[in-house]
Amino acid sequence: MKKTGKMGRGDAHMARRHGFLRRLCGSRIKKRWKALAMAALFSFSSVLAGCGGAGASGDASANSKDVLYIFNWAEYIPPEVYELFEKETGIHVVESTYSSNEEMLAKLIAGKGGQYDLAVASNYVINAMKQQDLIQPIGIDQVTNLSNLDERVLDQNYDPGNTYTVPYMSTVTVIAENTDMAGRLGVSIDSFNDLTNPKLKNNIVAVDDSREIVGIAMKAMGLNPDSTDADTIRSSSTWLKELRPNIKLYDSDTAYAAMVTEEAAVGIIYNLDLHEAMAENDKIQVVQTKEPAAMSIDSFVLCKGSRHQKEAQEFINFILRPDIYKMCLEEFPALCLNKETLPLLSEEERSQPVFTLDDPIVQNSKLIEDVGDAAEYYDEVFSEMKM
């Protein structure tokens, strides 16, 4: 799932655009060149790694004992946290970013291990990462702050006993609406089927992700959103065809902006974007649908070939500390999984919709499951919607 954005505390809009620009000019261009140079010199296989391959090459000269390479979603951990970590422990963090699980998988496979220590991955790719031998046990008994996390996100079926994963935050894909605009259009939404209402023509902003959008179609049709059967998945295309004219834009990176600037009346967006949009435009609300929302748990995983297991454990303990976790949440308000952080937050923060595990939408949500090889059918159906 795609993470973005900063919480709207006044100038969030600018800050976020800043991050966006930084990502555009900084990482994409420069890293591609670095990647090319590396690829040519060291291995052919990383040519396709593009941005990712070289991300970690920045501080090659630094003492390997004091550096931790993190492969993370763009804008998910604030840079101040890394600075503070270095101040306290002397370990310098080098972060490379990606914007989808698929991108991360592709780059880790292309890079063949060793270039990153920690990655942040969603629950439904953990199995694939295990099968592809991309991750190793994290040494969970050293992660003492694991107890700060809510038990409800621990010991999940994709990783019993949390051998490989330590949850960080969680995102939920929700339906948001601009009540003014929806009122003017004469639409009210309480199920996914309402999204295909012709009155919403050209009025929806949606995340650009095949699992999310096809998943919504399948839930609306009463099908299993994690089906691995090609025909079942393909049958969702009829529903998607009805949705298609209503989509104004797909945007996983800055979906909140389309809601804030009222380009779209309705959004199929991540809760992170919802919080940001709500902070900047008070007409925006979340809608509770009768179908469950899609949730994913993003966890730290230890990459295969990492030589900094101790530093990685130290970092995970650091970020799970209630005060540090609070810093992360205030910058990137996804779903709070840290029960020790909750008392530190203001009542206003805690009462945001889709922010804690006790929220009714979150309670009713469903984890996105791994579909293995069937991922290509999801992509196929979604691509066809765009053809």
């Binding site: 966006f20 620009l21 555009l24 000019c25 994409r28 261009i29 090319l36 690829a39 040519a40 052919f44 040519v47 396709l48 989808s100 698929e102 991108e103 998988l105 592709a106 496979i109 292309a110 694939a128 099968q131 592809q132 050209n202 650009d208 095949s210 989509i247 104004k248 834009l249 797909y250 945007d251 600037t261 009222e262 380009e263 293995g372 090889d373 991922a375 290509e376 992509d379 196929e380 691509s383 066809e384 765009k386 053809m387």
Partner: protein, 284 residues
Amino acid sequence: MKKKNKEALPRGFMIGPAMAWLALFLLLPLGYIVVISFLQKNAYGGVILHFSLASYRSLLHAAYLKVFAESFLLAFETTVLCLLVGYPMAYIIAKSPEHLRAVMVLFMMLPFWINSMIRIYGWSTLLRNQGVINWILIHLGVISQPLGMLYTDGTVLLGMVYDLLPFAVLPMYTSIEKLDPFLLEAASDLGAGKMHTFLKVTLPLTSPGLFAATIQTFIPALGLFYISDMMGGAKKMYIGNLIKNQFLSARNWPLGAALSILLIAVTLFLVGLYSRVGKMEDIV
């Protein structure tokens, strides 16, 4: 025959670095792409070392052909608009006093110091419903409702033309500048009107520039994908998106590689076609 220059550096020394650069950064990656296009895909991304033609067979799917058709149409429209807008621009620059020409070319190139994605993002802040243009029009009372300009096919075309225009203007400018003014005087002496002179003298003599401009806009236009993503709302799939998706979300590298090779083949074909009508030197 020229006398051999004994003081010249050894040939390998002279062209070696360039060849090494080409081999490392062009041939190797290209070879890698060719190889993986003939391999089997791995369900989790990457490839299995097993010969397969599956990716080339799937190129013939109707859906992919449609994506190719859409991409060609967009590239064609972009090129035509770039020529229509660019030719008069090039003409005006070439006919300006010499000291102004450099300034005008500089002004045209100046935006290129800024990353093109940022410039495209700038367009969306201008065009969006609460953007500058709609705000002005509404406050002037010209319109009562925002025009809804962003995320349409029209804005994609606008972004494409904006991004590629300088590539069209520069070769045409060079061509028009080289045009011998005496020929125009001769045409006028012989009684040709302005229109007649333009059609019979100026246009044919500057056609190499026109061809070069066509190639230089059409080929990049085929591969650009972020403009349709950012200004079109990522609603339509073009060749560029299709290739990117195969690597980053569909986990089908061989198909992505095969699509890239098809794109390269089409490009080479166009350049080949061009080399029959125009001079290769005009492109550079």
